[in-house]
C-alpha cells in the first residue's frame, strides 16, 4: 500500500487541474466515474514502469513503419506520430448523444450536396445565399447534374468536435467530407494499446473499432452498377504523401489493390488498371487524391497524380468515386455556419450538436467586428484544412495580427472567425518532467454513410496538443494522438 501510494504520487504529483474542463478529474484527485479504474491503474504504476510501456508502444509503431517523414534536415528523417498512452474515455450515454448529433449532421450534409449539384432547392428557398455557394473554392461546376451511385456523396466524413471547457458541451468545430484522414491511427492505436495494457481491456467494457475497414468495403461494393463482385481500388498520390501509410493500410485491410494514377488508364470512358496480364476493369475507386488533381483533362492540367479521362468515365457512370466530386462545397468553413440551418431545412429537426459561433467575413457587419477584435478571435481560411492559413489571435503578436488583417481585407470571402474555444484537457504524459500534465484534446469521429444509415465506429481519433498550453492539435504542429474508448456502460 505504501508502495502504491508512493507510485501514485510519482505520476500524478504536481498535477494541476487548472481552469479547463478536465476529461479525467472533476475535482483534484477525484476521478470521474468512467475514469476511476484507469486512474487507479495508472496511479499504481511508477514512472519507470510507465516509461517501459511507453517504449514498448513506440517501438511497435517504429517497427511497423507508422511514421511520417520530415524533410527539413535534407535527409528525410522519420518521426513517429506521437502516441500518448493515457486513453480518452467517453461513457456510453455521452457517446450516444454525440452519435445522434453526428448522424443528423452527416445526413444533412449529404442532402445538401445532392441538392446543390441537383435542383438547388435550398438556394431557391433562400436559406443559404447563392453567392456564398458559388464562390466556394471547392464548388465544382463539373459535378452539376451528375447522378452519383445510390445518391451518396459523403461516404466517409470526419467531423471535428471539441469540448467547451465553460459548459462541458461538445461543439462541432469543422466538417471534413472530402478525403478525411486519420482513421488508420484509430485502429493502430487500439492495437498497440491492447498489446501495451492487455489487462485493461478485459476489466473495462470498451466498444471495439476494428470493423471499420469491413464497413467501408461494404459501402464501396454497393456502389458498382455493373457487378456484384466489383473491382475496388484505393487511389493514392503515392508513398511521399503524409497519409500514405493509411492508404496502404486500408487497401490491405479491405483486401483491395492500392493504385497510383499511373497504374490506371481510361479507354472509351472505362477505367482499367495495368496488370502483368494486360488491363483489368475497375468499378469503384476510393480516392485519396483531391478533386483538382484527379483528372488533368478536367481539372488541373499540371497534375501528374491523376488519371486523364477519369472524369469522363465517372460522368458516363462507368466508375464510382468515393467520396464524390465537389464535396468541398459542404465543408467550406463559411458554409459550415449554415449546417444547423440545413439540419432544420432537410430533416426538420433541431441540431443536437451546436456549432462554434462563427463570423462570416464576407458579411460587412461581421467583417467590421472581426477586424476590430482580431486579438481575441481565431481566423481561418475557408477552404483550408490541417491547421494551415489560420491566425490564433490571443496567441499572436501585434505584427502578425496586422499582417493578417491586410490579407483578410484583400479577400474577406476567404475567411471566417470564431471566438477561441477553451478546449478541454486530458492527462497526458509529459516526457520533460516524467509526470502527467493536462493537455488540450479534440475528437474526430469517422462517419460512414451507406445511403440508408450512418455508421460511426465508437469514439474516433483523439488528437492532443502535446506542447504545454497549446490548443493546436494538428500533427504538422506538434500534435499527437490517444486511443479513444467508448465504454459499454457508464463506468
Amino acid at each position: 500500500m505504501a508502495m502504491a501510494q508512493q507510485a501514485r504520487e510519482e505520476l500524478f504529483r504536481d498535477y494541476n487541474i487548472g481552469s479547463f474542463y478536465d476529461e479525467m478529474f472533476s475535482a483534484r484527485s477525484t476521478a470521474r466515474g468512467h475514469y476511476s479504474r484507469v486512474y487507479d491503474e495508472l496511479a499504481a504504476l511508477g514512472s519507470g514502469q510507465f516509461q517501459q510501456r511507453r517504449e514498448l508502444a513506440d517501438s511497435a509503431f517504429l517497427l511497423q513503419g507508422i511514421t511520417f517523414t520530415v524533410y527539413s534536415d535534407g535527409r528525410g528523417t522519420e518521426r513517429l506520430f506521437p502516441f500518448d498512452l493515457v486513453p480518452r474515455i467517453l461513457p456510453f450515454s455521452e457517446w450516444s448523444k454525440i452519435e445522434a448529433g453526428l448522424t443528423q449532421r452527416v445526413l444533412a450534409l449529404n442532402f445538401f450536396l445532392r441538392d446543390i449539384y441537383g435542383p438547388q432547392q435550398i438556394l431557391k428557398d433562400r436559406k443559404i445565399p447563392r453567392s456564398l455557394v458559388y464562390s466556394c473554392r471547392h464548388f465544382r461546376r463539373e459535378a452539376m447534374g451528375l447522378e452519383v451511385p445510390r445518391g451518396i456523396y459523403t461516404h466517409v466524413a470526419g467531423i471535428d468536435l471539441v469540448r467547451d471547457s465553460r459548459t462541458g458541451e461538445f461543439l462541432v468545430l469543422e466538417d471534413n467530407v472530402r478525403t478525411p484522414s486519420g482513421v488508420s491511427y484509430v485502429l493502430e492505436n487500439r492495437l498497440v494499446m491492447t498489446r501495451t495494457f492487455p489487462g485493461a481491456f478485459q476489466r473495462h467494457g470498451v466498444l471495439p473499432v476494428h470493423h471499420y475497414p469491413d464497413e467501408l468495403c461494404q459501402i464501396l461494393r454497393s456502389l458498382s452498377m455493373r457487378s456484384t463482385d466489383p473491382v475496388i481500388v484505393v487511389l493514392t498520390p503515392g508513398n511521399f504523401n503524409s497519409a500514405y501509410f493509411e492508404h496502404s493500410f486500408l487497401a490491405q485491410q479491405m483486401g483491395v489493390e492500392l493504385v497510383e494514377g499511373r497504374d490506371l488508364v481510361v479507354n472509351d470512358d472505362v477505367v482499367y488498371m495495368k496488370t502483368i496480364n494486360g488491363l483489368t476493369r475497375v468499378d469503384v475507386i476510393y480516392r485519396r487524391i483531391d478533386d483538382e488533381f484527379l483528372d488533368p483533362l478536367a481539372f488541373r492540367g499540371d497534375s501528374v497524380l491523376g488519371v486523364p479521362g477519369l472524369m469522363g468515365a465517372y460522368r458516363a457512370g462507368n466508375v464510382a468515386l468515393a467520396n464524390a466530386i465537389g464535396n468541398g462545397v459542404a465543408d467550406d468553413k463559411a458554409v459550415y455556419a449554415y449546417v444547423p440551418d440545413m439540419i432544420r431545412y432537410y430533416l426538420d429537426q433541431e441540431p443536437l450538436l451546436r456549432n462554434v459561433d462563427t463570423y462570416i467575413c464576407s458579411r460587412p457587419d461581421d467583417l467590421a467586428y472581426v477586424v476590430d477584435h482580431l486579438h481575441e478571435l481565431v481566423v481561418k481560411a475557408v477552404g483550408e484544412s490541417g491547421g494551415y492559413g489560420m491566425l490564433m489571435g490571443p496567441m499572436s503578436t501585434k505584427s502578425m495580427i496586422d499582417d493578417f488583417r491586410t490579407r483578410l481585407l484583400l479577400d474577406p470571402r476567404n475567411y471566417i472567425a470564431q471566438p477561441l474555444v477553451p478546449l478541454s484537457v486530458c492527462p497526458s504524459y509529459d516526457a520533460a518532467s516524467g509526470r502527467m500534465a493536462g493537455r488540450h484534446v479534440d475528437l474526430r469521429p469517422y462517419c460512414l454513410f451507406t445511403g440508408d444509415k450512418v455508421t460511426i465506429v465508437p469514439g474516433g481519433l483523439t488528437r492532443v496538443a502535446l506542447q504545454p498550453g497549446s490548443m493546436v492539435v494538428n500533427s504538422s504542429q506538434g500534435g499527437g494522438s490517444k486511443d479513444t474508448w467508448v465504454l459499454r456502460g457508464e463506468d
Binding site: 513503419g65 487497401a251 490491405q252 492500392l258 493504385v259 499511373r262 497504374d263 496488370t275 502483368i276
Partner: protein
C-alpha cells in the same frame, strides 16, 4: 497483379541480393588481405571496385583504393547508388510502395533491417573493419528471404521475387569470375600456379568453398573453380543454377508449357540455360572465358529488359 507491383517486387529482390553480394565480397576480401603481402593489396581492392562496375564513380571520390576507401564507398556512401546502404534504402522504398501487397512480417523485417543499418556508425565500423557490418547484412538477407519464404503466397509476386534474385545472382557470379580471371591471369607470371589464397577468397565470397572441397577433392584449380561457379547444377550461387531458377519463375508467371516460350525473356533464358547444360568447361575455355562471360552478361541484361517490356511497362490495350 499490377505491373508496378511486379516491377517493385522484382527490384526489391535484386537490391537485397546485391546488398548481400557486396557485403560478402567486402568481408572475404578484407580478411584474406590480412594475410597478404603489401604488393597485391592495392590490386585486390581495386578489383572489387571493378567487380561492382563502379570504377569511374569511385575514382571521382578517391585517389586510391585503400581498404578504408573501398569499405566506405561500397558499404555506406549514399551517393553510390549500389552501396549496401543505398541498396537497402531502395529495398525499403520499394517495400513501402507495396506494403499492402507483401506480408506484414516481410515489411516488419525490412523495416527492422533498415533501422538497424541506420544505427551503424560508419566511422566506428570503418575503424573496426567490415566484419561486423557485413555479417549483419548477410544474416539480414537470409532473414529476408526466409521470412518471405515463410509468409508470402506462391503467386505471381513470389515468382517475380525469385526472378529478381536469380537474375542478380547470375550476373554477379559472372562478373566475379570474369574479373578475377582477367586480373589474376594478367598479374600472375605463372598461369599454372595461381595464387591459392585468392581463389579461395573468390569461392568464399559466393559461399562455394566447402562445396568445392567436397566435390573436387583437389587443390584449388582455377578451371575447376570456374566450372563450379558457372556450370554446377546444384550450387545455389552458380550461374546455371540461377538461370534454371529464372526459367522456372518466368514460366510460372506466363504459364508456358515446357519446351515453349511466351516471351523474348523466356526465349533468351531457355537458350542460355541450354548452353549451360550442354557446354563443358573445356568448350568454354576453348572459345575464350572472357568472351563467354561478356556475352552472358549481355544476355542477362537483355533478359532484364525484356521482362520489363513484357510485364512492367504498359503497351497497348489488352
Amino acid at each position: 497483379m499490377l505491373s508496378r507491383i511486379a516491377d517493385s517486387l522484382f527490384w526489391m529482390s535484386r537490391y537485397m541480393a546485391r546488398a548481400e553480394d557486396t557485403a560478402r565480397l567486402l568481408d572475404v576480401t578484407y580478411h584474406m588481405l590480412l594475410e597478404q603481402s603489401q604488393d597485391s593489396y592495392q590490386l585486390r581492392w581495386d578489383r572489387i571496385i571493378t567487380i561492382t562496375g563502379e570504377q569511374e564513380l569511385f575514382y571521382k571520390f578517391y585517389d586510391e583504393a585503400t581498404p578504408h576507401n573501398v569499405f566506405e564507398f561500397l558499404a555506406f556512401r549514399e551517393d553510390n547508388g549500389n552501396s549496401v546502404v543505398s541498396c537497402l534504402n531502395r529495398v525499403r522504398e520499394n517495400a513501402r510502395t507495396m506494403r499492402d501487397r507483401i506480408s506484414r512480417e516481410m515489411w516488419e523485417n525490412i523495416n527492422t533491417l533498415y533501422h538497424s543499418v541506420k544505427a551503424f556508425d560508419p566511422k566506428v565500423e570503418i575503424h573496426n573493419g567490415p566484419h561486423r557490418f557485413c555479417t549483419h547484412i548477410v544474416f539480414a538477407s537470409h532473414g529476408f528471404y526466409g521470412v518471405t519464404d515463410g509468409t508470402l503466397p506462391r503467386n505471381e509476386g513470389w515468382h517475380f521475387l525469385e526472378a529478381g534474385r536469380a537474375l542478380e545472382r547470375a550476373e554477379t557470379t559472372a562478373r566475379i569470375v570474369d574479373v578475377e580471371y582477367h586480373k589474376l591471369l594478367q598479374s600472375s607470371v605463372q598461369v599454372a600456379q595461381p595464387d591459392n589464397h585468392q581463389w579461395m577468397a573468390v569461392l568464399k565470397s559466393v559461399a562455394a568453398y566447402e562445396i568445392y572441397r567436397r566435390e573436387y577433392h583437389s587443390r584449388i584449380d582455377p578451371q575447376k573453380v570456374a566450372e563450379l561457379l558457372i556450370l554446377h547444377p546444384r550450387h545455389p550461387r552458380s550461374i546455371r543454377f540461377n538461370v534454371a531458377l529464372l526459367q522456372t519463375a518466368l514460366r510460372s508467371i506466363s504459364g508456358a508449357s515446357p519446351h515453349t516460350y511466351a516471351s523474348e525473356a523466356e526465349r533468351l533464358t531457355g537458350k542460355l540455360h541450354d548452353t549451360l547444360v550442354y557446354d563443358r568447361i573445356e568448350d568454354i575455355f576453348a572459345r575464350g572465358l572472357h568472351f563467354f562471360l561478356t556475352d552472358l552478361q549481355k544476355t542477362c541484361r537483355g533478359i532484364g529488359e525484356n521482362i520489363a517490356r513484357k510485364y512492367f511497362y504498359y503497351a497497348g490495350v489488352a
